[in-house]
């Protein structure tokens, strides 16, 4: 069974002449147990797609199933099966790390004692036990990311959505998060990951899709995408995932550097 299956996913913001098509008919099929990477330039539709798959945004068209649940028809069931860590680690700075995890557990239906026990387990596992009773306001960026990741795992989800989980982190924290994502995946959780870092996708992902201008323009394993480019261009050596990305999006380094787009 697919962990994630989307057909013809569309999202349009605004109405009439001001309508903007952020996602224009995305098809996705992610197998259970995969780490699936979702790449694209800024404003390509990555976050909008994630927000639709995680029930945070309505669909303008198409269908989406996560863990076998139709996200549009039964969002509460879908929410019980997924964990979500969005961009910028949205956390409540006035609470302690422990309070955030206990609250998250309670909102997923746990008793007070079970939520406290689960929080303790996760704090230990993400190396935040020493800071557990300090307010999040004083945490570093890396600590916030780890706490956010832990909070997405409180209810032991089948599928974990990570929206740019390492953006803004230093290299050491980034590698720690990568290790963690691999471990989570080894324990049976499907991971859907958006990233702007191609190295990250290359290191972590079993398969990936590249989205640009609201449409999927490449899909496959990192090695198959590189091989396809090598064969098509008749290259002597293996291209990098950067080359695949630039070829797929029709961008060159100058254009990417100068582009400003917001959706």
């Amino acid at each position: 069974m697919s962990a994630i299956n989307a057909v013809g996913l569309r999202k349009t913001y605004g109405h009439g002449d001001e309508a903007v098509d952020a996602v224009r008919g995305v098809d996705l099929d992610v197998a259970a147990g995969e780490i699936f990477g979702f790449l694209g330039p800024n404003g390509a539709g990555k976050s909008t797609t994630v927000r639709m798959l995680t029930t945070l945004m309505t669909l303008s068209g198409g269908t989406a199933y996560v863990a076998g649940v139709d996200v549009a028809r039964d969002p509460d069931s879908a929410r019980n099966k997924i964990g979500v860590a969005l961009q910028e680690a949205g956390l409540d700075d006035r609470q302690t790390g422990r309070e955030i995890l206990v609250l998250q557990g309670r909102l997923f239906g746990m008793s007070r004692d079970d939520a406290a026990a689960r929080a303790q387990e996760l704090l230990e596992l993400v190396d935040l036990l020493d800071a557990a009773d300090r307010r999040v306001k004083g945490y570093s960026g890396g600590m916030k990311r780890r706490l956010d990741l832990a909070s997405a795992l409180v209810h032991e989800p089948e599928i974990l959505f990570l929206d740019e989980p390492t953006t803004g982190l230093d290299p050491a924290s980034r590698i720690t998060v990568w290790d963690e994502v691999r471990r989570i995946n080894r324990n049976g959780t499907t991971v859907f990951l958006t990233t702007q870092y191609l190295e990250e996708a290359d290191q972590l992902c079993d398969r990936l899709a590249i989205i640009d201008d609201g449409r999927i323009i490449r899909e496959g394993t990192p090695s198959s995408l590189k091989q396809e480019l090598r064969d098509r261009r008749g290259l002597d050596s293996d291209p990098t995932l950067d080359d695949v990305f630039l070829d797929a999006t029709g961008r060159n380094r100058d254009r990417v550097a100068g582009e400003v787009k917001e959706i």
Binding site: L56, D93, Q95
Partner: protein
């Protein structure tokens, strides 16, 4: 760090179904904790209304002496002014400002991604607003008692008085939350409070309604806050006045119903 997650267990029991009441209490508890950790935002809701109470009484007490001013029912002018200060303390809309901060910071989406009742996202903060206002209104009334003001309706009337003020705080904050959810902007939310604020002053807050100038009397009669103020005032000055209380609680019931209906609509269509 090593996180262990359980692999899928198809026959594992489903998580208990959440209810709006349970979820609201959990989120409300968090909001109360948040308020206790930010006393700098809680204290003004008591001290600013007390400041206005002192200033207004200082300016007008000699015009309206206890003896010879029938509408004071033998009490000092502070007793007449107290309801206006209580309603002012209930009209800061703190819940909405916390909510918009949470929307801007991204934590609101984290909460939306949990399987809780959508209404709990609104009701949790309103429950906290109710509890906070009960505490602040109690403190204000106790301070007023120390300055010789009496609650003519007794202890039961005191309970009804602070419950009424706290319910109004929920209504006012609920409307402010609607603006937060619609605009998702702290500046817009703060600005909108200035639209609602004049409602507090288009009331018989200095003299009874029948002693206002005709245009002000019409404005006060059309203003729903007037009836809450008059109900609160009756508890302090007269005792249990069924007609005044019915109008006051009636206004709260109607505005609460409208606010909740709009909130359901807003939160269910929030994208």
């Amino acid at each position: 760090m090593t996180v262990i997650t359980r692999t899928t267990q198809p026959d594992a029991p489903a998580a208990p179904r959440s209810t709006a009441a349970r979820d609201s209490l959990i989120l409300g508890g968090r909001a109360i904790r948040e308020a206790l950790r930010t006393p700098d935002s809680l204290l003004p809701t008591m001290f600013i209304p007390l400041f206005f109470l002192v200033v207004n009484v200082g300016q007008a007490a000699r015009i309206f002496p206890a003896e010879g001013t029938p509408f004071l029912e033998g009490q000092n002018y502070g007793a007449f002014q107290l309801p206006a200060s209580l309603l002012l303390s209930a009209s800061f809309g703190g819940a909405a400002l916390y909510l918009v901060e949470e929307i801007e910071g991204g934590y609101f989406d984290k909460l939306r991604a949990t399987p809780i009742s959508r209404m709990a996202l609104v009701l949790g903060r309103l429950y906290a607003e109710f509890v906070k206002t009960l505490a602040v209104a109690t403190a204000m009334v106790v301070i007023a008692l120390l300055f010789g003001i009496r609650i003519e309706s007794g202890f039961a009337g005191f309970l009804v008085l602070i419950a009424m003020v706290a319910l109004w705080a929920m209504v006012f904050s609920g409307f402010m939350q609607l603006i937060s959810l619609k605009t998702r902007s702290a500046a817009a939310t703060q600005g909108a409070s200035m639209i609602f604020f004049p409602l507090l002053f288009l009331t018989p807050n200095f003299v009874p309604r029948d002693q206002l100038t005709r245009p002000m009397e019409i404005a006060a009669t059309l203003n729903p806050v007037t009836y809450i103020m008059e109900a609160a005032r009756s508890l302090i000055l007269v005792g249990f006045d069924g007609a005044a209380l019915a109008k006051g609680f009636g206004v709260i019931a109607v505005t609460m119903t409208i606010m909740l209906a709009l909130s359901v609509r807003m939160i269910n269509s929030y994208d």
